[in-house]
Subunit: 187 residues, 2 copies
């Protein structure tokens, strides 16, 4: 990246989000996004593989962050405690600055079948990674798969709820409350 393009990725992301909201994902081209961000299409492709990846580039970081938290959970943590640590770690990722972005992103995804599919795949990948992390901790395969699936279920439900909560509500608190609901459900 040249020094005449400070935070081109951030500007491209903002431009893409504004255009997706205005014209829809299908009605927006890479050229439109690059134009709106004041860069060339070539610069766009230095940062993102395609117009879909603008919305999913953060997903891998989130997954790595959660998998790391799982690995770093105390040795004596139960499988579900380790998964809960991973889900809670996502709160550090979705700090105050990301809520507005997350809301706009969710609206675009909900409106576009192709993006909904991509989001489902992302969640399935996260589930596999958490399952693998649990296996690495010595958890039995059936328990690992179920704990990972359940953890991702908690994450999805908590995340959806957080998006519609007032700005003062922290995602960490929504996750804790969802984990508590889960215990109550299966008691």
């Amino acid at each position: 990246m040249g020094r005449w393009e400070p935070d081109a990725a951030g500007r491209l992301r903002e431009a893409a989000m504004a255009l997706y909201a205005e014209r829809g994902f299908d009605g927006t081209t890479v050229a439109d996004i690059a134009d709106a961000a004041g860069v060339t299409a070539r610069t766009f492709f230095r940062h993102f593989a395609d117009k879909r990846e603008v919305l999913f580039a953060g997903s891998e970081q989130l997954e790595q962050h959660m998998v790391l938290a799982l690995a770093e959970a105390p040795t004596e943590a139960t499988p579900m405690e380790a998964v809960a640590a991973a889900v809670l770690a996502s709160a550090e990722f979705f700090d105050g600055m990301r809520r507005d972005y997350s809301r706009r992103r969710a609206a675009v995804i909900t409106a576009t079948p192709e993006l909904r599919e991509r989001e489902l795949i992302k969640m399935a990948t996260l589930t596999s990674s958490l399952t693998k992390g649990l296996l690495d901790r010595g958890v039995a395969p059936d328990v690992a798969a179920l704990a990972a699936e359940t953890g991702v279920a908690v994450f999805r439900v908590a995340f959806e709820r957080w998006l519609v909560e007032p700005d003062s509500v922290l995602i960490a608190d929504v996750i804790r409350s969802t984990l508590k609901t889960l215990s109550g459900l299966t008691a």
Copy 2:
């Protein structure tokens, strides 16, 4: 359907599965499937919208069956008991005759990204339908979403396990054991 085509749908399904296993999903055409089943492509399209739907035609029946079981659970059942009833009802769908078919189907789906996506969408649709069923029972939205997600997690894990169990193991028993694992996990 003419009377010269007894169970054309069943023969098409068998022919498709054999070809998918042999040549891969992408390497098989509707014409190949129709040929192998001894019918015309026109007959194929009377039964299935496309070659993908051959594998997913049963999914809607399964979903309806599970949603009905949820609705018919006793009024006093907790949300998770009602969801457990729905998941257990899937056992009636996967009777002894379907295990071999299910195994071959799972192998084809695992090998084909497009089909894996379709399967994820199917599971997301099932989750939405169970959530709606719980809302209809008067369950609070957050609890309904979490109970439905958790129920589908149990279904997925139990189903995967059942596919690799010896033939004498019933899916209903695997589901019960998975539900028990879940209680232990979140206790």
